[in-house]
Symmetry: C2
Subunit: 204 residues, 2 copies
DNA sequence: GAGTTCTCTGGACAACCGTCAAGATTTTCC
DNA sequence: GGAAAATCTTGACGGTTGTCCAGAGAACTC
């Protein structure tokens, strides 16, 4: 009770603990993937013991889904700055492409985890609700970029948000795999690809 | 030795056995995914016992990689007919879009397995070589469609094979997930999306 | 048809998994 | 400060996994 930050209720503390545990789990999940990250390994890479997981989460799937949702929350506003600070169409596109590249460099483990989970949801029905929600959020995020870009260019988007997201996601996924394989030039390629693709997404 | 087909060497028979085992394994893998398909489950869904796997394959990963390569071989010529029979640009595009939809309907388990394995290769380095090879083969397959399409239309492709494949793969993956979630209209959407996208892939 | 090689079975193994619960430890509250 | 509630540790459990192996069975050679 010595600091001003100690004014939290027990429920808040409980949530805070869940977040901390999920944070540790995300690191391990990003390193090992969904299948090979055991609860013991997750706990080992954290300050907790392996039994505490079932105090804060019902089971492994509950933990995973919570982790994924938490990751979504930190991820969804990554391009807000790009949108806010852009003043020209070309400037927006280049800042966006740079940010995509930066994302791959800085957060490759998190994103391979995301693709892992999305693939798992094709088999595991209980993952689908969370995955579809996150996918929708990412689509919205991309759409904020594209509609802003269209506004700056004085044109209309030529595609639905869903299609635009699907196209960009395809390129991003390809670049992520290439980056993890330490292929030369994939990041520059991605930047160039995005700069070239974005005008195509607008109606002439 | 009563039939004409019995003229195989022991080595051939060994390979044939490997193929049969891999065939069974592919079915189970398509149903359960890479992580949850155990060797026992794979053997149970086949005519073999679980011990025989290590007679024909070094370990689980060896089996998986062999399966993936075998799947590639059956998959890589799926669109050859479309390319061969097309006589007009629009006809090619529509036949191609139809075939993509048919692929999702008929072979959803195989394709979710493919995306599962590609995601796993982001974590497991030993999978990458096979995955990159297959990805390249699929890219070549797509490129045969697109370059034929460009020829029929009397234009030039506006993108590299890599980019074109990335874009289409993004849409395909999205549609596959939607199909597995039993979303209404995803297949019709995919068809329309492809028909709309293909002209964009050509230079004006 | 005996002997050799190939093929396959089924059980055993050590390791690991998710889950749980009993009890130790800490925190909270009066 | 002591009771009550919360948080956490530790060890155990039943089950599953990949792998290995001794030996049964089949196929082939001479």
């Amino acid at each position: 009770m010595t600091t001003a930050t100690a004014r939290r209720t027990p429920a808040d503390k409980h949530d805070e603990r869940r977040r901390a545990l999920a944070d540790s789990a995300l690191r391990t999940l990003g390193e090992l993937g969904y299948a090979r990250a055991s609860l013991r390994e997750i706990a080992n890479n954290s300050e907790f013991s392996h039994g505490v997981v079932h105090y804060y989460f019902q089971d492994k799937l509950d933990l995973i889904v919570y982790c994924v949702r938490q990751y979504k929350a930190t991820c969804v506003h990554r391009y807000d700055g790009v949108v806010a600070e852009a003043s020209t169409p070309v400037g927006l596109v280049e800042a966006f492409a740079d940010k995509l590249v930066e994302t791959i460099v800085d957060e490759a483990p998190m994103h391979r985890l995301w693709y892992d989970l999305r693939s798992q949801s094709m088999f595991e029905e209980s993952l689908r609700e969370a995955v579809l929600q996150i996918d929708q959020t990412l689509e919205d995020m991309i759409w904020r970029v594209i509609s802003t870009y269209a506004g700056l260019a004085g044109k209309e988007p030529a595609m639905t948000p869903h299609v635009a997201y699907g196209l960009l996601d395809g390129l991003f996924q390809q670049a992520l795999l290439g980056h993890l394989c330490r292929r030369e030039g994939v990041l520059d390629d991605l930047r160039a690809q995005v700069v070239e693709l974005m005008p195509v997404l607008l109606a002439p």
